[in-house]
Each structure stands twice: as structure tokens, then as C-alpha cells.
Symmetry: C2
Subunit: 231 residues, 2 copies
């Protein structure tokens, strides 16, 4: 079975992302330390984020709004203005944060592009993801970019039909078991999990049990060999 098309997740697969969220979150916990203990703030932020996901989707702008809302809730509706200003500033800094590709990404993506059609498949804010791709210097290597609001089986069916030769001849590669691996396998694609050292709670899921089209790798540098073995 040829693998014509390689779908690549972006955040925490090609470049650091969750680290930046966690740093901002640490700054947020610190900001609110006079109003609530760390565990309470953390739990409340997670709850507000989950509640807002349906409205805001994924990305920095929604995260910023959720931080402000959480601050209000933890301060009985009276979050001090400097706290709100700090949160706004933190959100802007996240957007402006330089893009740092993960070890092995630059060489491996360049090598993959010589043999396969590469498609970037990612959630998040449209403009923000486009900016990161441009800043990464990898943009020219991708035949297509799909920024989607949800990654489910239908997403992979559609994207690999549109930009490749169908899910059957495609592999999806990413750090999220829930968003990158499981729905891609359901769509009939190959799927490779490359864990990032931290995972957003909303993206956790169990690994598939002995699926013939599933693999897990420590580093993206091992991906070309993994694909070659399946050819």
C-alpha cells in the first residue's frame, strides 16, 4: 500500500505550543495568587475553558477571554483592572511569540516533501496558525493547509480526499491521540503518534490497542523510515 500523502499536525508536532500556554497559565496563577490558591485557579480555568470551547473554539483569543472570565469568577466579579490588563498583555505576547520548531522537524519535513504530498491539518485561530506556518519557514513544503474547527473522522475523510488519494493512502502524524490518531484511523488512514512532553487535558485519550495502521515514535526524525517500512 503506497502512502502518497502525509498529514501533519502543527502545534506541539512541528513547533512548541503547549509550553507557551503553560507559561502564560503560570503567569495567570501568579496574578491571582492573592485571590485564590493555585489548585483552585487551575481547576476553575479548566472549567471555564471547557465551557467556552463550544463558543470560542481553539486558540489564543478564546484562551485570553477565558482567563479574564476566570479572574472575574475568582474575584466575585470584581477582578482588579491591573489583572485584566496583564491578561490582555499576556494574550498579545502569546500571539507575538516566536515560532520554534521542534528538534528534527526542519530536516524531516523537507525530506518528506520530496516523496509525499504534505498537508498541514490543525485547529486554532486561522490568522494565528497561518502566521506561525509562515514564521516557521516550512510553508513552501506543504501542498495544502487545512485549518479546521474540529478533527474528527469526517475531517480526515474530506481532507485526504481533497488533497491526496484518499485516507487509505495517507498517514496522519501528530501529538494528540484524541485529535490526530484515533479519528484518522477511523477514517482508514495510517496514524503516527509522536507525544509531546505535555498534553492539554482536553486532548488526552487512550492509545489504540494493536491497530495494524498505528505507530508511535519518539521523534519525527524516525517518521520517514516508518513510512518506508509500510510501502
Amino acid at each position: 500500500m503506497p502512502i502518497t500523502t502525509v498529514g501533519l499536525d502543527a502545534d506541539d508536532t512541528l513547533w512548541h505550543n503547549e509550553t507557551i500556554f503553560r507559561l502564560t497559565q503560570a503567569r495567570f496563577l501568579d496574578l491571582l495568587s492573592a485571590h485564590a490558591d493555585t489548585a483552585t485557579t487551575e481547576a476553575r480555568l479548566a472549567e471555564v475553558e471547557r465551557r467556552n470551547l463550544r463558543l470560542y473554539g481553539y486558540g489564543i483569543k478564546g484562551f485570553t477571554l477565558s482567563m479574564i472570565e476566570t479572574a472575574m469568577e475568582l474575584c466575585d466579579g470584581e477582578a482588579p483592572a491591573p489583572v485584566v490588563r496583564e491578561i490582555l498583555a499576556a494574550g498579545r505576547e502569546m500571539i507575538a511569540h516566536p515560532v520554534e520548531t521542534l528538534p528534527g522537524v526542519d530536516e524531516t519535513v523537507a525530506a518528506l516533501a520530496e516523496r509525499h504530498r504534505l498537508v498541514l491539518i490543525t485547529k486554532g485561530d486561522l490568522l494565528d496558525q497561518e502566521r506561525k506556518l509562515a514564521a516557521s519557514g516550512l510553508g513552501e513544503l506543504f501542498a495544502a493547509v487545512e485549518i479546521v474547527s474540529e478533527k474528527d473522522r469526517g475531517t480526515y475523510d474530506r481532507v485526504f480526499a481533497r488533497h491526496g488519494t484518499g485516507a487509505d493512502e495517507a498517514v496522519m502524524v501528530g501529538n494528540s491521540m484524541k485529535s490526530d490518531v484515533l479519528p484518522a484511523l477511523e477514517a482508514g488512514a495510517f496514524a503516527v503518534h509522536i507525544p509531546y512532553h505535555i498534553t492539554w487535558a482536553h486532548e488526552l485519550a487512550d492509545a489504540p490497542d494493536g491497530h495494524a495502521r498505528y505507530g508511535t515514535l519518539d521523534t519525527i526524525a524516525a517518521l520517514p523510515a516508518w513510512i518506508a517500512e509500510r510501502a
Copy 2:
């Protein structure tokens, strides 16, 4: 010259949008009336929005963040918490606002879909635009949906090549001279301007002067006849 493909803008072309922004803005002006006069607040909000466009792109989440930032600036960094809470609530209500299609849209889009490939081409928040399309009941009539961060000549080149038979055989239809009409004409497409009764200041531009492929219509109901005349 056959017109195989019809690109349709969404906000203020298929359904009301700017009206909802203006209502929220009126609420915002009112909210800040104790701190600044209407003209000052309005001017400052426009300035903050323009400054943030590069960071936030188009859409409700960025607008909400810009309102909070404007409130902070107008209150010397000390916007009262109730003002911030009201802005957050206003943003959430905008997202949850029911979609109301413009007069003639439902019938006309259905009629166009029988003869042409329809492509929705819009800016804004990804999740928000997908939700509006689903709520409008028009989703099934579109062969493709392209939510883009910018509408320039390259956007139309790419979208009409991917989903149609090239810009040469496509028409772009929308309420924005700057985003829908001028760059589509540059790409070699036909373009039809259907003005909405209010236009966001950032979308204003002059009409093209006597361009053979340009038309302006009072209502979308006149679009099928306009296209038929060009066939």
C-alpha cells in the same frame, strides 16, 4: 464566457452581521458614557481595532478583546470590573446571536446552486462562521467553504482554481468593495457588489471605473439574471 462558479461572501451578503456589531458597539458606548463621550469612545475603539487587526484578525473574539482594551485606555487603565464583565457577556451574546438571512437569500442561493458551483468565501472566526452557515440552513447548497484570513487577489486565484474552473469563469459576490469586488476583478473574475446598508469603515473603497466584468445590484434576487446575461 460561461460562469461555472459563484463565490459568495457571508457576513452582510447572506445574513446580517454588521448590524449586530453596531448594536454591541452602541451598548459599549453606553457602558462607557460615564468615562468618555460617544465620539471619543467610538474613535478610540476604531483605533484599537485597527491596531489589533494584525494580531487578532477578523471576528467577534478579537472585537471583544479590543473593546476591553479600549475600556482600559479610556479609564486610564482602571476600567471597572462590571464594565469588563458586560463586554465579555456582550461578546458571548454576539456569538450566540441567531442567524438571520437577508431578504431573497434563501430562494436565490437555492436557485444558483442548481446551475453553478457555489463557494462560500469569508473572513472571520473559523468556528463562528461554520456555526452561522449551519444555522442558516444554506450549508448543503455550497460545494465548498473557504474561511480565509485575508481576501486578496491571490485568495481568489487559489480558491477559484481549487473549487472551480479558474477565476476567469467565476463571479464573486459580496457587500465589500474592498474585499469582495476589487481583488476578485484583479484575479480576472467577474464581481458583483451588493451593498449592505452599513459598511465597516475598514471595508470601504471606491467602485471600479467602468470595468467590463463589474456589476452592482440592489438585491441578491437580481443575481441569477445578471449572471445569465453574461453567459
